[in-house]
Symmetry: C2
Subunit: 635 residues, 2 copies
């Protein structure tokens, strides 16, 4: 029997605009969706009528519950138009929940608000497979990204202010200010200071007992301004902040420094949120984030600056995932949205864990991994599953005829320009040639020991002959199944076959999860494993990369997993190398680290971490109908 | 009969730390507080268990309801330690609601989050007169300030990007990008563009019909970078952002510019939120905010940039006030917190309007005005009441023996240093001499035609003789009453006498509200009225101020009210001039405008709009107890 919160869609043809579809459906009170999932009112906090934060403590109550099936959605190497990975994730869940009577939760990333006003528009899925209310999904949601911005920038302010105060004070003056005497003349250490004392090997608990040398080591962080990797963030597409000079006010006494802003989702704190497993774990991760080095080369952390606790306070509500719903009334958990190159591009571990308990045995949790499977699924397995201990039963690879034709040698696809004729009329040969890309993604994903289902996201102009080619190529490459789906045009009904295939794949999965590399390997060995996985014949390190690898190894961080920052438009580092290139040498330009989040990220090329606005940004169409309060013009 | 949500406090002596008092009380579900106020569940949106946004639409439902009494709380010229204005506001309401069985709503400003981690600590009141949960009050609350940050910075990004794109494109290229052809080759104007077309006197609706001259005037804003007054904001104490250079990335092609960040509550958007009266009004105010001038001297607005609608979308939830509760279970509306110098320092009009309807006839709404009465109450009357049409029945002036002693010639009071002996032992002569300051505030406030009640916020060391002096001086200066209160130590019980006095003052109020100046006066005439009100013998304008006054007058903005940006530590512009100085000449250094919010603000001296962090910020003590989730160390 379908759940009472399920809603049947009246689909129109041709498919109306996303916002019109979303606005035509009245969402259910989120409390009804929560009740249907078995959540008690004390398990969540409402944020308005259509959003609720599911409290992490629900995990304690559901400890005895068995996990459901865990499904990850990746894709082939995409065109710049995107191949409908989010839409497929939502459509599949609508099929499982609304047509196949399964308990299901969709786990999605929270989109960055900035690009909503720029070129990109929203990220709630599309057509008849969407999360609603789509304006709330795309805008403030429940404030998690705002909390990240606040925390990130508090740490940034703490860094520059500390350098400033250290520059003008003696060791003793600094120490006396850090541990001021109370009314009775007694000094004490703040709790957070014991973390630094422990790191320095000082076990004294009374500030008065420190020797002058200990006072100096404790109070003077001696941060090397050149080494600071921590940047400020803002959830706005503000290209003029990419590179700036700060500290030019007269009060800052000439202590100027070049730095810049990234968009908020690029903050390490977003990656921490996505990878943390509990409030206590988040406290530790935030405290050990490294912002740069001392002049003698020691890593300086948020806790060295005394701010790890305050960052946790700012993030304490953000740790709870947000419950929303699809157009067909199935539940969605939205949580975290780290960058898919300089970070791992996956939604949060805690949302997936809660979801797996809520659906229970025989239920399904479908989670999306950013970019193509070379990046998204790889990081899902080697970083996210490694930290969570969770094991997927099925990996989906979303493919489109359009993208396969591009990989087969079709003309360049450019966002905003009309598609070439090759993409809107039958061309079986191009599709056939392009299947090398799909096949490589299938065999790569299979190597983790997981069943692979290919979802062919059908467009109106795709032909039966073209799709048959993809099905054959998929099976030949080792896929468990390959299914055509039309959820964009038909909602869940269009993904029922996919849902059935996923169910069979999950039920027949038996192999254990095999990681690509062991953590104990050296940083270079790990990088080389991933490069080989891409098809590279070797790796080339810049001098800077060599220097960084040496430094991180010396600092004791070499046991972390690797998070490659690479283009999503090719298996290689060159966006124009389509298909499944081999024999290329992967260049590592630089190597950085997110120690709190828990990974090393080599840079393969230059990654923009702050988008800009075009001449006519989306915001020209966006307004509120002041009579109804409805948002207009979001796309 | 007291309301069922009323909670009796067990008070301890000496008074424990604020956070300990706050954490010892279990707040009621906010839905209970809402129900007691007569709100239906569709009148508000929950944000967790202890906060709810009361929807503006409630005003439609309560149209027929009579307003309650409207009470504003100001203060004498304060010491840097603050004289307990917020605490008195909360304590008075606890008295009215919990002891005098009145319907009452406290209207408070939302504090800035940044300073919570710096020197200041929280702003939820103190002792046994506080708003709870105090951590939620002081941190993200319901996201309004985050929305302001996002909207402010989207506008900032739009400005620099527009200049950038105008620099590299021809008139025609620019126009074609602003009004791109759709698939059928047709161009159209976005709705927001008609605002600019109207301003330019162009009534055409088809982009194809514009002449080349009209195209140039429409598409080229020609912003003068030197004239830009719009700065970026952040809710963090980040002094290194006070003055920065932006646009230094290679992609920005050398288009560097000096600018800076203010703390978010200094954004004009915060002042708009505080002064708006409806969603439609907010849309108009946000659209007409002026960011600078064109090279030919025309003011350029957010709507000229096409972004007024998007700003409204970002602010559409922020327009609803947040309901919270006091320690004794009386309701509080928290909404908006504009700066008290460069803006008007009062909480929102919409919160006061909703509150006045909710308490109804015979009920009380108590709202606080920032800084001393010379600034806070003046702006409350001449700006806020002018825009709202509301009329207060009673104005409270909070005084402390400590501050009066300072005005009487006592030694300097410095935050963080021990108080001089004069302040903690009886000194009637100092108090008596200091009453000139109080008397001037009383007569100033009386000049609006409103009854004045003096609240003497009693500290443990204050003596009966000292307080008697204050009472006599108050009555001699024209106060309606002067009452000693001890709400910090005793909660509402300590402010019962004050509550009774306020009730009598409201019931006997008969005069109409008299503004200090008519809007039709020139900018200079209005400035001079306020200067006289302060006690100045005249006004001196800098060359820059003269130039700005001329420009704003020419641009048609001279009918706006005036919002003086002056120190709160003296009636004059010199913080060390205590008491009630006369004969000084008030220097106007510069004149600026918040056209969307609706005021001109002359700068009397230099105002810091971005605080910094000390060597040992508050954040050293702040952490989460990861076992209970409770916040520790907030003060």
């Amino acid at each position: 029997m379908p759940s009472p919160t399920i809603r049947r869609l009246d689909v129109a043809s041709p498919v109306p605009a996303d916002i019109d579809i979303a606005n035509a459906v009245e969402p259910l009170p989120i409390a009804d969706i929560a009740a249907e999932l078995g959540l008690r009112p004390d398990h969540y906090d409402l944020y308005g009528k259509y959003k609720a934060k599911v409290l992490l403590s629900v995990l304690d109550d559901l400890k005895a519950q068995q996990d459901g099936y865990y499904v990850v959605v990746g894709g082939i190497t995409p065109t710049p138009l995107g191949e409908g990975k989010s839409t497929t994730t939502v459509g599949l869940c609508q099929a499982l929940g609304a047509f196949l009577d399964k308990k299901v939760v969709t786990c999605l990333r929270q989109p960055s608000q900035g690009p909503t006003f720029g070129i990109k528009g929203g990220a709630a899925g599309g057509g008849y497979s969407q999360v609603i209310p789509m304006d709330e999904f795309n805008l403030h949601l429940t404030g998690d990204i705002h909390a990240i911005t606040a925390a990130n920038n508090l740490l940034a302010a703490a860094i520059d202010t500390r350098i400033f105060h250290e520059n003008s004070q003696s060791d003793k003056g600094l120490f006396n200010r850090l541990c001021p005497a109370n009314k009775e003349g007694k000094r004490h250490f703040a709790d957070v200071m014991f973390r630094r004392l422990t790191k320095l090997g000082i076990s004294k608990t009374d500030p008065n007992e420190l020797t002058p040398d200990e006072i100096r080591r404790f109070a003077r962080l001696d941060i090397d301004p050149e080494s600071i990797t921590w940047r400020r963030v803002m959830d706005v597409n503000d290209r003029f902040l990419r590179k700036i000079t700060i500290g030019q006010g007269p009060e800052e006494k000439g202590m100027v420094r070049e730095t810049g802003f990234d968009i908020s989702v690029a903050s390490e704190i977003m990656a921490v949120l996505a990878l943390t497993t509990s409030l206590a774990d988040m406290r530790e991760r935030l405290g050990r984030m490294v912002i740069g080095n001392s002049k003698s080369g020691e890593p300086i952390t948020a806790d060295d600056l005394g701010v790890g606790g305050a960052l946790t306070v700012l993030m304490k509500d953000a740790i709870h995932p947000t419950l929303m719903q699809t157009l067909e009334g199935t539940p969605v958990l939205v949580h975290a949205g780290p960058f898919a190159n300089i970070a791992h591009g996956n939604s949060s571990i805690v949302a997936d864990k809660i979801a797996l308990k809520l659906v229970g045995k025989g239920g399904f949790v479908v989670t999306e991994a950013g970019f193509g499977a070379d990046i998204g699924t790889e990081k899902f397995m080697d970083i996210k599953c490694r930290y969570s201990g969770l094991v997927p039963q099925c990996a989906i690879i979303v493919a489109t005829i359009r993208a396969l034709k591009m990989h087969g040698g079709g003309p360049e696809v450019v966002a905003g320009k009309p598609l070439d004729h090759a993409y809107v009329s039958e061309n079986v040969a191009l599709v056939e040639a392009g299947c090398v890309n799909l096949a490589k993604h299938i065999s790569n994903t299979r190597s983790y020991g997981v069943n692979v289902v290919v979802a062919i996201n059908k467009f109106a102009s795709d032909t039966e002959a073209e799709m048959n080619v993809v099905r054959s190529a998929s099976m030949a490459a080792g896929a468990f199944d390959a299914v055509v789906c039309t959820h964009h045009a038909h909602g869940g009904k269009g993904a029922v076959e996919l849902g059935l295939a996923v169910q069979r794949a999950c039920e027949s999965q038996t192999e254990p999860l095999k990681f690509l590399y062991p953590l104990e390997s050296s940083i270079k060995e790990k990088i080389e494993s991933i490069a080989k996985f891409y098809g590279a014949s070797g790796v080339e390190y810049s001098e800077q990369a060599e220097k960084q690898i040496e430094m991180y190894t010396k600092q004791g961080f070499s046991n972390l997993p690797i998070c490659m920052a690479k283009t999503q438009y090719s298996f290689s580092h060159v966006p124009s190398m389509k298909g499944a290139p081999t024999g290329f040498v992967l260049p590592i330009r630089d190597v950085r680290a997110s120690i709190g989040a828990g990974f090393i990220y080599p840079l393969v090329g230059t990654m923009s971490t702050m988008p800009g606005l075009p001449t006519r940004p989306c915001f020209y169409e966006i307004d509120v109908d002041t009579a109804t309060g409805k948002v207009m013009g979001l796309s």
